[in-house]
Amino acid sequence: MRKLGLSIATAALVAFGAGQASQEAAAASAAHPPQGDFGFTGFFGKFDRDAAQRGLQVYVGVCASCHGLDLIRYRELSGLGYSEEQIKAFAAQFEVTDGPNEDGDMFTRPGEPKDRFVNPYRNVQEAAAINGGKAPPDLSLIVKARAHGLGSIGANFLDMLQGGEFATGASYVSALLGTGYVEEPTLDDKKLCKPQPAGKSQEDWEAELNAWSLPPGTYFNKWFPGCAIGMPNPLYDDAVEYTDGTAATPEQMGQDVAEFLAWASEPSMEARKETGIAVLLFLAVFTGIMIAVKRQTWANVKH
């Protein structure tokens, strides 16, 4: 048992090491921005209410003119610490299309807590038509959808053990908005979003990057895979006026909206972690009892 266990552990280590090494070698995906500091990571992590509330301001003031948040209802904002009255007042700012009424007509009314966040467009086709052929993605799940992808089991192992959650996705959103946009990209900037293709020499790669220019209608963002993003830089100093007086720099707004969107992608995360602590504590005690039961049971057996 011990020998076999050792062998398996060795095998796993070898494979794990191979996975780590390959992360260095694999140039298939663009560079990941440095991990930001978010309240929701770790085993006792909770969403940072203040940051998320500021993030809601950024979403409403900036993002919501092009991006929907279709999966969230206004009433869910209670999870961010808003009172029922605040939510009612907040929802009422928005005009919701409802109906048909008794005459068969659609009508508009002020939003209510039960409504979903109002989408800036009537439908996907309109969203695409207005935005150069491609609809801006819905942001409800964007943080989970942008957490590291391919081959992440080996690369994110330590992060996973520390309860890293979807912080990689939030870091991406934060960095993309806060620090990603560069007016005059350097070679190093380009290297981040256009990684060295397999089998291409360093010189060829750099020459290709130097010769590369932005396609029309796109903007340079060093954290966006492929560098050319269709969204113009949405954040500038004081794009929103924070009610709590925090200075609204692009970095701050990027960080705040990432925290808000992390909450939006899984509002049940806090309940999950709280339940998890209780479950693990129970199982630890249960395991302890079972160790005693098992030893007692087998005490008289020579084996």
Partner: protein, 438 residues
Amino acid sequence: MSDHPAPNFKNPVIRWVDSRLPVFSYVHAEYGVFPMPKNLNYFWNFGALAMVVLVTMIVTGIILAMQYTPHVDHAFVSVERMMRDVNSGWLLRYIHMNGASMFFIVVYIHIFRGMYYGSYKAPRELLWILGVIILVLMMGTAFMGYVLPWGQMSFWGATVITNLFSAIPLVGDYIVTLLWGGFSVDNPTLNRFFALHYLLPFVIVGVVALHVVALHVTKSNNPDGIEPRGPQDTVPFHPYFTAKDTLGLAVFLMVFAFFVFFAPNYMGHPDNYIEADPLVTPAHIVPEWYFLPFYAILRSFVDGWWVHEIFFGWWATAKLAGVLAMFGSLIILALLPWLDTSKVRSCRYRPIYKWATILFLINFIVLGWVGGKPAEEPYVTIAQGTTMYYFFHFLILTPLIGWIERPKPLPASISEPVLKAGGGAQIAGATAAKMEKA
């Protein structure tokens, strides 16, 4: 099924029922006094663990199905509704989602235990084959289950995998159309996958029942790979293995709970949080991790690879060769009882084959790792090398080592290494005993 006489139940109701339908006698014979080798180590927990996961998957799956909408316009949103609006929906969904991964972890360890200790050898060949059938059914079920949330990876995974069947000569296109219920992965596909995903687990339950019946005829193998000589070599299932399996279950549930509560998305692909879009192809289409070793075998076959050219090139396309190799890699597992020419079961007494088996495990892990990499160098070469080794292990190494190897002397009985002093076997037994008590 057992030679044990029915126990004399004191409770008159139980006696009344048992004399008409002997369920209590059955449980008593098969899980009460059932003789188990007393030298089993903790690797023998994994069958019971797999059973627990299967039941968990069915229970959570049925409840999830009450909230799920199998329609391309609503599937994705209905899953997110569970996460947000259904009471404890997030818990059910994450248990089910991670339960699939746990099922494969447990079953892969269970299979490897069988390979290491020779549990597939006579008289347990049918038991082993039933196990391989369960594995294949699990793979089908998991694949179709992954399609249901209708994310990008669901859609494109389904497209890639169902397209494989088009490689079959003559009837391939017909089969693909039948799978799709049309001419692309669309609403009919989602509907039939949902129906089959609900059906197949009950087929698995049926085969598991046969697997358990076969086990209770041949009884458990053990780390020494020798049959018990008598009562001194065995202990009754209850209380010895009810206690030991429950301890194993408690530890396993901690691992399971860790993933469900603290890393529920770790083993999933982030692209599946984007709703399926037939017009946007993801940069890399990768299946779930538990399919990656087989996916690597599938992708190894490309035009120009010498193995392909020699064995398949003159009669099959690279695509067909890959499909055949992938299914072949599972069929070959079922043939293992006849490919292994050694009379000795346990690798404990097989100094060469022991290392071959461990190398096979490492190779399998590397296959899984490379299966998740893009189809470019050096990964293609690594995938091809490990694919060759997979088949080399079964077709060449396993029969060959069986012929040339000189196994270590087997103990006369399961009790002997424990009771007698001296000799290498004694040390192995003592180590095992120490582990059990740790």
